[in-house]
Amino acid sequence: MSLDTVKIETKDKFIELYQENKELIQNDSPDYINEIRNNAFEQFKNLGFPDKKSEKYKYTDLDKEFNNGYRTYLSPKNIKFQINDIFRCDVPELNTKVILLLNGWYYDRENLINELPNGAIVGSLQAAAKLYPEIFRKHFASYADVENEGMVALNTAFAQDGVFVFVPKGVIIEKPIQIINILMDEEEGLTQHRNLFVLEENSQASIVVCDHTLSTPNFLTNSVSEFYIGQNAHFDFSRMQNEHNGSKQVSHLYFQQERNSYVNANTISLHGGLIRNNVNVLLNGEGCENNTYGLYLTDKGQHIDNYVHMDHAFPNCTSNQLFKGVLDDFATGVFNGKVLVRKDAQKTQAFQANNNILLTDDNDMNTKPQLEIYADDVKCSHGATVGQLDEDALFYLRARGINKKESKLLLMYAFANDVIKTIQVPALKERIQDLVDKRLRGELSRCNSCQMHCC
């Protein structure tokens, strides 16, 4: 006799979870946020998870990844640890005040909001939504695409906490603000945190984000970050992904840039079982510059998928995309980048490149750089390469007495350094150079002074 099995769709599990826990999820949010939440939930019911028929998710099956029994953190779990015992970041030049998210929740429950003397605010998203309704009404869920993206709708329905950063008009925050996402638990978990960064006109800030796993169970993350970069504002964003191979994460970054603003965004993916990074940029005024860069080093069965959508909606903007990757063992990768130049966006300069080195015959890389141009006076280029290490260069190094392994490392390092050198915080750049070197050598890629066992 066979058991009757009813296949429950992944989508339905989350619909049920939301409906059952609606009160708990909505409990700590103001009404206007819950309204957004309910709308997003309805959208999610329509959209569901992207399946492989979706061109954007052709090579990364999220439905499969989310169809598991991982527990969603509906309230902050009380995990006590001495942060100094396990985590100590000694990269100089960073703000000593580190913001910690533990499984998607703001860790410092005693100090949920920090108002700096210059008017800047750094704190918990949940707490800030109650305190600063004007800012939230204007910016929260204004840039992320809930209408078309099932994963973003899912996050918007469920997200309760995350990081909120507000930099008022004309304020310059000199030292980079460091945000650490820590995943740590005794059991498997799913986090869906939400971040909001608002830089008003003529302001300046720099954010460094590090993703780490501190315990062995598998983790799943579906995070959304929104960035509003006001007129003439200057924003530098660096992100280091260093989670263990049992972790899978989908992240969505939405940037809206106003006139003459500048954004430099780097994502360095050192480790992670499955990583899907979405970067969406809207250049919403003349004279913007956006640099979006990525470096990924993958091996074993890891999978990395970078998606970029660069929307040139106004004239005289410049965007640069450079994504580089080294794939080893049987790792797989995807790059899917699109530059959209709208009809009025004359004098656009947009460049996009994706270069890959495959170290074995078992690697698989799918790359798709795309340009869609409706203006007639623009300068755009795109291109992708998938290849091996340059044999001529390898021989040249060996002919000077450098052994084969070291020669390969030198070449891989040089390849990766094109992206690393775009990191604007010098001390962080040096540290990442060191981590990448270790990563390429197959050594544990964590900082010496830090006790975090990320991988």
Binding site: D392, R398, R400, G401, Y413
Partner: protein
């Protein structure tokens, strides 16, 4: 120092070297000349260990050992230096890092401690001066954006840094104007001693006015068809290679 006997080598099934014989002793300068496609660069690459070429026959002894057994990096550490005809640009690898790694890898091979940063930089300064290499170039990525002449000068700079026993200079004169040629030749001559040997591969006799060879060999169709002293080079300059080709055919 180097003894090549009946060396045959293929690339993708095409035989390029068809039986080369050559003896080089310490303190000597040999010039290898010959028309295009005669196998000069192949000989240089095979000696340096390029795996693209397959040695099908013959023996090469270097300092009493079987050279063909060694990897390119072992050959380099044992004192063989190939000056490339077309030096490779390696974006992202700085000259300093490249040379430091090379010098210290070779020292490690010899059981020596790595040079301190201070000693290394001092060595760089000395050798840069020897070949009049622009300091700005030494701070850039390997050969990246160097002019043809700068690349060749950089080869001699590397040779000076690594102090090889046997230098094989593949068309080091091509693409050089007369001033650059003099500087390169001057570098080679300054590095010359009774302990080391140089094999100069060239198209033209011009370089040999500055680097005076003890022996001149003509490579044609993958083997050495004539050897002589520096007078042979002068004769070749006047008469070209056709008379030798005919002589070879007649045999």
């Amino acid at each position: 120092m180097l003894s090549i006997k009946n060396l045959h080598a293929n690339i993708e099934g095409n035989e390029i070297l068809t039986g080369v014989n050559l003896e080089v002793k310490a303190g000597e300068v040999h010039a290898i000349m010959g028309p295009n496609g005669s196998g000069k660069s192949t000989l240089a690459s095979v000696l340096a260990g390029r795996e693209l070429f397959e040695v099908t026959e013959g023996k090469v002894k270097y300092l009493g050992n079987d050279l063909l057994e060694l990897s390119p990096e072992e050959r380099a550490s044992e004192g063989i230096f190939l000056g490339f005809q077309y030096p490779i640009e390696i974006p992202g690898v700085s000259m300093v890092n490249f040379m430091k790694t090379a010098v210290n890898e070779q020292r490690k091979h010899k059981g020596l401690e790595p040079l301190s940063s201070q000693d290394f930089l001092k060595l760089m300064r000395e050798k840069k001066a020897l070949v009049e290499l622009d300091t700005a170039l030494a701070n850039r990525s390997v050969n990246e954006g160097f002019s043809g002449g700068e690349k060749k000068r950089n080869e001699i700079f590397q040779m000076a840094m690594l102090e090889p026993k046997l230098s094989i200079l593949d068309e080091t004169d091509s693409g050089l104007d007369i001033d650059a040629l003099k500087i390169v030749a001057n570098g080679v001559n300054k590095l010359k001693s009774s302990e080391n040997a140089t094999v100069v591969i060239t198209h033209y006799q011009r370089l040999l006015e500055y680097i005076v060879p003890d022996y001149v060999h003509v490579l044609y169709n993958g083997k050495i068809i004539k050897s002589g002293n520096k007078e042979l080079a002068i004769e070749l300059e006047k008469k070209g290679y056709d008379w030798l080709k005919k002589e070879e055919l007649a045999q």
